[in-house]
């Protein structure tokens, strides 16, 4: 203050520096503090900006995106399985899983929960049992059909939600169960063709990132869509009509014979396709509440048995092929017993002096063994191997077994003899049916397939055409009025085939239980189908292949050939079995 008074005022007034307002002397630190505060504020802003932009930008962008961007699952559907004519055998349709947040649901009125339990087809106690949980996610019921789901959602209970999933339906049910198999609740194949072709049947779900508007509409894709890929459809070689014929006949026969199990397979002799394959006992793939291992077993493919007499034609055919015998060569089988080494084999009824044809027709063990003993073990082994015994069939089916043919080097003569009539060797029903292809196809073998195929498979010659044709006419006699299987005859068609009756092996010992089988083909003039039937432990009195399995063969062949539109090759008036018995079995 003292200083301003000492300055001189100008004419215009008080000079700026002399303004008395400025004269107020403030401490210098105050302006510095202000300057510092302003600087600090800017620095804070800059730091904050740096922090947001540089350090936490990812987090913030994610937060922003989560408010408008959504990743949508693009579901893919599992491929259908159809039969050769396009009939659906397995198909997935969308259903819902109903799940709950127990805490929220428990607050709902009792009345509504009662309705919910009723809709979900469960008791109220079960429902409360499921809801009594600390978890925040509880499945109430899976694979609920859409119309039920709509009703459940209409109840409007808080805490009840649904999740999309697929359910697989099997319209053919029991008849086709073993071939098609089934999937689990996650739509993943766990049996049969569903398992074998899991990779191609299963779809690959896709996804897309989108922007959603306020109303929930998708307005824009942000990223490239990952396209979902539906599973490929699978077309089987199975003909569902033949399958039904085979299954229903087998079922009737297993019930009539009070048998433990049974199997049947129909092959297309022209293309090697498996037209039908049925097993008993079976199960319903749509309802698998109580499944046992016995029901699941695909016996035709996975069970081996000693085939018995059905194997005789191979040893005899080899004899014909190697020119050891001719069809009319006479062989003495009397007295119906024969001792090889320390063991004795025999025929049930001695047929005395018989031709090779009669040996097949009457199914003589002695006659077959006598022919077989004139051959080298290796020759027999080669034939067995080339018709598929001891080899796993390459049909891409899980669990198909190879059977057992011991190496020829260790064969003793008695073993060679018994093997010629089907003992000491084990095969599956599919293998024996496949082996008969060599007779049905004039000495050629073609591979089997479970998928429909249009191209002609590559054939491999095993026997000469002449041998195969000779054996075919012998097998026709075996299935004729004087053979072991007159019941196998089919009116209108010439059929050929061989019966087999074998004791079962249990713990390495033969027991008084039987496996009755019949393998044959029709029509003999130009074989179209091969049918193999096996009945395990028939207990209703009869147990011979001819009387147990023969009639099934007959009725299956009659219906199958008619449905395949195969022209009859024998005069229709020449019916040896009256038409009536056919009607009751079909």
């Amino acid at each position: 203050m003292t200083r301003s008074t000492s300055r001189t005022a100008s004419g215009k007034g008080v000079p700026y520096v002399a303004s008395p307002v400025l004269a107020a002397k403030l401490p210098a630190w105050r302006s510095r503090v202000v300057l510092f505060l302003i600087f600090a504020a800017f620095a804070t802003l800059a730091g904050r900006a740096l922090w947001l932009q540089g350090m936490s930008t990812d987090f913030l962008q994610k937060q922003g995106a989560s408010r408008y961007a959504r990743t949508l699952e693009l579901p893919s559907t599992r491929g259908k399985i159809t039969d050769r004519n396009g009939q659906v055998l397995a198909s997935s349709v969308p259903v819902r899983a109903v799940w709950a947040i127990p805490e929220d649901v428990m607050e709902a009125p009792k009345d509504k929960l009662r309705q919910l339990a009723k809709l979900l087809d469960m008791s109220e106690k079960d429902l409360y049992g499921r809801l009594d949980s600390d978890r925040t996610f509880v499945y109430l019921k899976r694979q609920v059909e859409m119309d039920v789901v709509d009703k459940v959602l209409k109840l409007n209970i808080a805490g009840i939600n649904t999740r999309k999933e697929y359910k697989r339906y099997y319209p053919e049910g029991q008849a086709m169960a073993h071939i098609v198999g089934f999937t689990n609740v996650e739509d993943k194949g766990i049996e049969g063709m569903e398992l074998a072709y899991q990779k191609t049947l299963a779809g690959v779900p896709g996804s897309r990132r989108v922007i959603r508007d306020r109303l929930g509409n998708v307005v824009e894709d942000i990223e490239a869509i990952r396209e979902p890929h539906d599973g490929q459809d699978l077309t089987l070689s199975i003909d569902s009509k033949l399958q039904y014929i085979a299954f229903s006949n087998l079922k009737a026969a297993v019930e009539a014979n009070k048998a433990k199990a049974g199997g049947i397979v129909i092959l297309d002799a022209k293309s090697g396709e498996i037209l039908a394959l049925a097993n008993l006992p079976t199960y319903d793939p749509n309802n698998r509440a109580a499944l046992s291992g016995a029901q699941l077993r695909n016996r035709v493919l996975t069970d081996t048995f000693e085939p018995g007499s059905t194997l005789k034609p191979f040893a005899v055919a080899l004899g014909l092929e190697k020119k050891i015998v001719r069809p009319n060569t006479m062989i003495d089988t009397s007295p119906g017993r024969m001792t090889i080494g320390t063991a004795t084999i025999g025929d049930a009824h001695s047929i005395g002096l018989a031709s090779v044809s009669q040996i097949i027709e009457k199914s003589s063990n002695i006659g077959t063994a006598k022919i077989a003993l004139q051959m080298q073990p290796q020759e027999m082994w080669d034939l067995f191997t080339s018709v598929g015994f001891g080899q796993q069939p390459k049909i891409g089916f899980p669990g198909a077994v190879a059977g057992r043919v011991r190496p020829y080097k260790s064969w003793r003569p008695i073993e060679q003899a018994t093997m010629s009539y089907g003992h000491g060797i084990s095969v599956s029903l599919l293998q024996i049916a496949h082996a008969y292809m060599v007779f049905a196809r004039d000495g050629e073998m073609i591979p089997l397939t479970l998928q429909r195929s249009s191209d002609q498979p590559i054939a491999q010659r095993v026997l000469s055409e002449k041998t195969a044709r000779e054996m075919r006419s012998m097998l026709e006699m075996a299935a004729g009025p004087t053979g072991t299987a007159p019941q196998a005859q089919v009116p209108g068609y010439r059929v050929g085939g061989k019966t087999g009756t074998a004791y079962k092996l249990e713990n390495g010992k033969y027991v008084k239980k039987y496996v009755a089988s019949f393998v044959g083909f029709a029509p003999v003039s130009d074989p179209r189908i091969i049918v193999a039937v096996m009945i395990d432990e028939p207990t209703a009195g009869r147990h011979y292949g001819g009387s147990v399995a023969g009639p099934i063969f007959s009725s299956v062949v009659a219906s199958a050939l008619r449905s395949l539109n195969v022209a009859p090759d024998s005069s229709v008036t020449n019916i040896i079995i009256p038409a009536e018995p056919l009607q009751e079995t079909l």
């Binding site: 997935s92 349709v93 307005v219 039904y244 009116p491 219906s559």
Partner: protein, 90 residues
């Protein structure tokens, strides 16, 4: 003069901005319509699947045979009751 150019450019800028808004709106509604149609396609595919399944379920041979035997009293044709025509003899 420069004031006029500035005015024209401003007007054009505003128009462009508005047309961008409009185009965006159009594209979004077209997109929503597309989405809706695609959803419909999926639904129709599902329905088709379901119908195929129903066809198979209703056309199971066991059911057909049971209906034919029970309701229509049909019997399987036996060779004795079949007249075979020979194509070569035509």
């Amino acid at each position: 003069m420069s004031g006029r150019i500035a005015f024209v450019l401003t007007a054009m800028l505003v128009l462009c901005a508005l047309s961008v808004v409009n185009a965006h709106y159009q594209s979004r509604s077209a997109f929503i319509a597309l989405e809706r149609e695609q959803a419909k396609t999926r639904q129709i595919e599902i329905d088709w699947r379901q119908l195929q399944l129903d066809q198979s379920t209703l056309g199971v041979h066991g059911r057909i045979e049971a209906n034919a035997r029970r309701d229509l009293r049909m019997v399987p044709a036996s060779p004795a009751s079949t007249q075979y025509l020979n194509l070569e003899a035509k």
